[in-house]
C-alpha cells in the first residue's frame, strides 16, 4: 500500500517535472534539425530557457476575452491536465506501478481520448472564430484516429490475451517483443498516437499558419501553459504505452536482477518515441484536413481490421 502511494507521488512529480526540460529539448532538437542553434541566450546553451518561460507565464495578466463562456473557458485547461495525469496513473514504469489495474490499457485509451474535450471546449468557449474552427477540427480528428487505434490495440490484445500491462510484458519476456508479431499494428498505433497528441503532421487543431494559434489563440499565462502540460504528459504516457506494447517495456539485460535497471530501460525506450515526435515535426508538412480524414478512414481503418485476421492466426499458432 505505501509502495503504491510512493509510486503515485513519483509519477505525478515525474510528469510535472519532465515537461519543462522536454519543451527545451524540443526547441533545441528542432533548431539543430533546421541548422540553427535554437535557444542560446538564457544560461549556457539556453538551458535555463524553461525557467525564464515559467517566470514569464506565471506573471502574465489573466485575460478572459469578451463574450467568452467564462466557466468553460476556465475549466478547459484544467481538464487537459487532469485527463493527462489520470492516463499516467495506470502505466507502470519498471516496478513503479501506482495503480495496478486489470484493464489498464483500456483506461489509458479512454483517458487520452477524452483529453480531446479540453481542446474542443477551449475552442468552443473562446468566442473567437479561429478557436472555434480549431475546436471543430479537434472533434472531427477524434472521429478519424480513434477507430484504427482501437482496432490496432485489439489485434495486440488478442495476441497478449490481457489488458494488464504487467501481463503484457510478462508475455513478451517469454515470447519476444510485440513488434516481431505485430509490425502492422505498431505502425498504425504509431501514426494514431501522433494524431492523438496533435503533433505534426496531424496538428490540425493548432495549425498556426491557418488558424493563428488554433484552440489556444485566446489563452495566455499559465492557462496557455496548462494545455502544453497536458499535451506533453500525453506524449510521455503514450510513448511509455507504445514501448510497453511493442518493445518489451522494462525487459532487458539484467533487468530481472536489478529492478532499477528496468525503470531506466523503459524510460530510455520511451524517450526515443518522444524524440520521434520532435523529428516528425521537423520533417513533415501538415496534412490538409480532408486528406487526413480520408487516409484514416480509407487506408488505416480497413488495414487495421485486416490486421485482426493476422493477429487471430498468430494467437492460434503461438498459443
Amino acid at each position: 500500500m505505501t509502495e503504491n502511494f510512493l509510486s503515485l507521488l513519483f509519477i505525478v512529480v515525474l510528469m510535472l517535472v519532465a515537461v519543462p526540460p522536454i519543451t527545451y529539448l524540443e526547441r533545441k532538437v528542432l533548431g539543430h534539425m533546421q541548422q540553427r542553434p535554437g535557444p542560446m541566450v538564457v544560461g549556457p546553451h539556453g538551458i535555463l530557457q524553461p525557467i525564464a518561460d515559467a517566470v514569464k507565464l506565471i506573471f502574465k495578466e489573466d485575460v478572459v476575452p469578451k463574450g467568452a463562456d467564462k466557466f468553460l473557458f476556465i475549466i478547459a485547461p484544467s481538464f487537459s491536465v487532469f485527463a493527462a495525469l489520470l492516463a499516467a496513473s495506470v502505466v507502470p514504469i519498471g516496478f513503479i506501478n501506482a495503480v495496478p489495474m486489470k484493464s489498464g490499457l483500456l483506461f489509458v485509451m479512454a483517458m487520452s481520448a477524452i483529453s480531446i474535450y479540453a481542446l474542443f471546449l477551449a475552442g468552443y468557449s473562446s468566442n473567437d472564430k479561429y478557436s472555434f474552427l480549431a475546436g471543430m477540427r479537434a472533434a472531427a480528428q477524434v472521429l478519424g484516429f480513434e477507430l484504427p487505434m482501437g482496432f490496432a490495440l485489439m489485434a495486440v490484445v488478442i495476441l497478449f490475451g490481457s489488458f494488464d500491462f504487467n501481463e503484457i510484458i510478462k508475455w513478451q519476456q517469454q515470447h519476444g517483443w510485440g513488434i516481431l508479431y505485430q509490425p502492422i499494428a505498431f505502425l498504425i498505433f504509431l501514426v494514431m498516437m501522433i494524431a492523438e497528441i496533435n503533433r505534426p503532421p496531424f496538428d490540425l487543431p493548432e495549425g498556426e499558419s491557418e488558424l493563428v494559434g488554433g484552440f489556444h489563440t485566446e489563452y495566455s499565462g499559465m492557462r496557455f501553459a496548462a494545455f502544453f502540460f497536458g499535451e506533453y504528459i500525453n506524449i510521455i504516457v503514450l510513448s511509455l504505452v507504445i514501448t510497453a506494447l511493442f518493445f518489451g517495456g522494462w525487459s532487458g539485460p539484467f533487468a530481472e536482477k536489478f529492478p532499477i535497471l528496468g525503470v531506466i530501460y523503459h524510460l530510455l525506450k520511451a524517450s526515443f518515441f518522444i524524440f520521434l515526435a520532435f523529428w516528425l515535426r521537423a520533417t513533415f508538412p501538415r496534412y490538409r484536413f480532408d486528406q487526413m480524414l480520408s487516409i484514416m478512414w480509407k487506408v488505416f481503418l480497413p488495414l487495421s481490421i485486416l490486421n485482426l485476421l493476422i493477429a487471430a492466426g498468430e494467437a492460434l499458432l503461438v498459443g
Binding site: 495578466e61 501506482a98 481490421i305
Partner: protein, 121 residues
Amino acid sequence: MESYLTLLVFFLIALTVALLVPNINLITNKFLKIDKANREKFEPYECGIPKINPIKGSYFAIFYVVALVFLLFDLETVFLFPWAVSFRKLGMLGIAEAFLFITILLVGFLYAIAKGALKWD
C-alpha cells in the same frame, strides 16, 4: 479493491494539480499593477483590425455523417474488446462468429463509402 483506493487518491491529487496550475495567474495578479481601463485587449483576436465575420448563430459541421458512421464502428469495438481478451478461451466457433460480425459491418462500411459518406469535396 486496493488499487481503486489508490486510483481515488490519484484522482484527488490530479484534480488539485489540474485546478491549481492553470489558475496561478489569479494569485500572482493580486501583486501586479494591471491596467483594467484598456478595453481593447479583451476583444477576441483579429490581427489588430476591427472584427471580420465574427461567429454568431449556427455552424454547419460537415462531418455529421462521418460521426454517425464512427458511432457504428465505435460500438463494434466495444463489443469486440471482450472478445479479444478471451480469444483463446472461445475456440474456433467464437472466432468464426466474430469474423462474421466484422464482415457484416464491413459491408455496411463499403455501403457508406459507395453512398459518398466519406467525401469531403
